[in-house]
Subunit: 233 residues, 2 copies
């Protein structure tokens, strides 16, 4: 299983481990070690401890530099959305890491291989092993491919409001003048409907409506982001 | 204040910032920025966000490598004891960082300069600025001087039990045979007293007693650690 993993990593990511035993450790659950005593096997938990901190720093550094205007509170919220079981388990699946985990029979039968908690752990332990064996540049290269593109794809938009996301998206390549205009206020007094558009350097890029001016602006920003992301592809 | 800080860092730690504005940002609280509007000042919170993650990783990496036998749970407990407000505020005081913080007048009057929460923040933001300006090697050098020696001084012993600490202390330079021997069991049935010694490669290095064998072993390990640490000085 580990030699297949080595071949896969080489083919897919150009990664060749100097010390394959680190890679084996990172993909081995305690239950497997228990079923194979006297083989001197190690399980992933220590490396996961390290990998967790590696991911925490690299994600922090990336969003710190990418969003120079984002205040600490929003940076923290965005990091929490990126560095969590939900996203790491998805990254692990996307990287097909689930196929290479060494599990004990009981855990296998219980469906552990697809459990988000385990997939998340394995993603972290892989990063820990990569860091120890190949250094920080290799980790950066890997997460630039696997994690950061998801920011542009909107995976973490729920953590940062749409107006902020739009601002960061537009201003990454320099200053852009973003304006929201109220177009109409309709509906009844108890159920008003606001209609707003958003423009970048004078050009309308999105439109939205909502029960308050703020909600309408958020909707317009979201619409603009969706269009801009489609154009980028 | 910032130029005095620069002089101090150069003299005391050999650190010269390429971009002093980063250093200024790291030592400036929001209250100071509010009192000096229109100067384009920034406060420390964003850099602190980064510094926190830098410390988390570097401490994790150090203890991961230094304690190769320590399981994840104990590594996590030890890291939590090292990376916390209590210890960071002490490091900040030890480095005299409290003298260089830029505070608003209200905060100054309220005694914020000595508040552990602020001192901890400033320690983290300094590390963040050092990381951005001077790179990871400079951070490692700094925390090898300021943080890691405290491990040998026993600052974090409460996070790891004494037997584990003794083992790690002795086995850092290679394998050492550690044995605990029950010397005597005295007291009454309801209040027994156990007396134990601990030896390293056959030489007795500590003695202790307690109400159970385990407590006596812990006491012996603690006594041995105290003696060994004195000898090391």
């Amino acid at each position: 299983m580990i030699s297949e993993l080595q071949a896969y990593l080489k083919k897919e990511y150009g990664i060749e481990f100097k010390d394959p035993s680190l890679l084996a450790e990172a993909f081995t659950q305690a239950s497997y070690v228990n079923e194979h005593p006297n083989q001197g096997l190690k399980f992933y938990e220590r490396i996961e401890f390290l990998g967790d901190a590696v991911l925490q720093l690299f994600v922090s550094e990336y969003i710190y530099k990418r969003y120079p205007q984002l205040p600490q509170g929003k940076l923290t919220r965005l990091r929490a959305a990126m560095v969590c079981e939900d996203s790491f388990s998805k990254f692990a699946k996307e990287c097909h890491f689930d196929q290479y985990i060494r599990l004990g029979r009981g855990e296998e039968m219980a469906g552990a291989r697809q459990r988000p908690g385990l997939l998340c752990d394995i993603f972290e332990s892989f990063i820990g092993a990569l860091y120890l064996d190949q250094g920080r540049d290799a980790v950066e290269k890997f997460i630039h491919r696997v994690i950061f593109p998801k920011l542009d794809m909107g995976w973490f938009d729920h953590a940062v409001d749409a107006k902020t996301s739009l601002q960061e998206f537009l201003q990454r390549d320099g200053d852009v003048d973003i304006e929201y205009h109220l177009l109409a206020e309709t509906g009844s007094e108890n159920a008003p409907v606001f209609k707003v558009n958003v423009s970048a350097n004078g050009k309308v890029i999105g439109m939205g409506s909502g029960s308050s001016k703020k909600h309408a602006e958020m909707a317009a920003a979201k619409a603009a982001l969706t269009t801009l992301r489609k154009q980028k592809k």
